[in-house]
Amino acid sequence: MSDTINIEDLKQDSKNFNKGTYEGETLVRKSIERLKAGRSILIDKDNNIIAGNKTAAAAGSLGLKVKVIETDGTELIAVKRTDLDINSKEGREMALADNRTAQVNLAWDEQNLEEAALQFDIDPSQWGVNFENNAPTAISKGEIDVGTFDTNQTLVVKLTSLQYEAVIDKLKVVNPDLQEALLEILGYYA
C-alpha cells in the first residue's frame, strides 16, 4: 500500500538516540537541495520516525511531501531514482552524500540511549556502541567484536614546511596542546 502525506503528519522521536550536529544538518540540507531526496526514512505503524528524523526535518523545511510504503520487513525496499545514473556527477555525489551525512550528523544522546536500554533491556554494546568517561565510542563488548571505533574526526591541513613551522609556533604560544590551542583561538570556549 502506498500513500502520500505531509511531513507534518510524521512524528519526530522525542527520545532520539542521535542529537545530530550543526555540520551534519547543513550537509543533509545541502544534499536534498542539490540532489533531492535519496534513500527512505523509516517509520513505525503510528507514523513515529524510527530512523531519519533529521532527514525528515530538512525535507519538511524544503517543502517535500512523503510517500509512505507499507511493509512488514520481509522484503527490502529500494527507492529508484529514475532521473539518476550512478556514473554521473549527481549519482556519485548522491553516493558520497549518503555516507558523509550519516557520518557527520551522528552525535549519540547518551541519556536517551541509557534510558531505552534500561526500559527495554537492550544492550547497546551488542550493537557496537558503548560509552566510556562520558565520551561516546563504539567499543568491543558483548557478542560483537567491533574493535575500537573512534568517533573523533581529523582535520588535515596541507602546508609548506615554512607555513607548518609558523602555524605550530603560533598555536603553541596559546596552548601546548595544538587542538586546544586552535579551539581557544576560534572561540570554542567563549
Binding site: 502506498s2 550536529t21 550543526y22 555540520e23 550537509l27 531526496a37 535519496g38 534513500r39 527512505s40 526514512i41 523509516l42 513505525d44 505503524k45 513515529n48 524510527i50 530512523a51 525535507a59 517535500l64 511531501k65 512523503v66 510517500k67 510504503i69 511493509t71 520487513g73 522484503e75 527490502l76 525496499i77 529500494a78 531514482r81 529514475t82 545514473d85 554521473s88 548522491m94 553516493a95 558520497l96 552524500a97 549518503d98 555516507n99 550519516a102 557520518q103 531505552a116 526500559q119 527495554f120 537492550i122 547497546p124 550493537w127 557496537g128 567491533v146 573523533n152 574526526q153 581529523t154 582535520l155 588535515v156 596541507k158 614546511s161 607555513q163 607548518y164 587542538q179 586552535l182 576560534l186
Partner: protein, 194 residues
Amino acid sequence: MEQEKQIHTEVVDIDDLIQDDHNFNKGTEAGAELMDRSLKELGAGRSILIDKHGNIIAGNKTQLAAIKAGIKKVRIIETTGDELVAVKRTDVDLDSEKGRKMALADNATNQVNLEWDEMELANAAKDFDIDMNEWDMALPDIADPDEQPTTEAKDVKELKLVFTPEQYSFVLSALRKYGDDFTHSLLQILNINE
C-alpha cells in the same frame, strides 16, 4: 517482474540489483556482522537507493546482508526525488524493544560499517569534477593516482588535529568563514603570510 497496479512499484529478485564496483565505502567486518544481525533479528528497515539502471547508489552492504538473511525480493519505488519516501513498518511500535533496537541499529551500523575508499573518492572527484570540500571531505589525504610526485609536493606537510564531532563541526564552520580552502583560512586566522 510482477507489476503492482495503481502505484509505481515493481518487485524484482534481489540479485537483479547491481553492486557498485566503485563504492566509496569499503565497509568493515564488524559492520557486516551488525548488519547481518539487524536484518535477521529485526527485518528490513530503511530502503536502499538505486539509479535508473538498477545500480545501487546507497545500500550495497545492505543488499548483501539481506541476501544472507534470506530476503529474496526487492520492492522498487520509483521517484524523481521530489518527495521523501518513508518505509512504514506496520508491525513495529517505536516505543518497544524492537522499535528502539531498530533506531539503535540504524545509527550503529552506519557508524561501524563505514571505511572510506580514498582511491575511489579520488577517482570520482577527478572523473566527475566533484569538489570534496563541499562535502567536508577536504580532510583525507587523497592521492591523485595520475599525478606524479613533484619537488614542490615534497615540501608539503600535513597538520593533523583530532577533534570530537562537536568540536570538529565548530572548527569547520569557523574556518569556512574565511573560505573553503582551509589552508588559506588557517593562515588568515593566525595572521601568517601565505
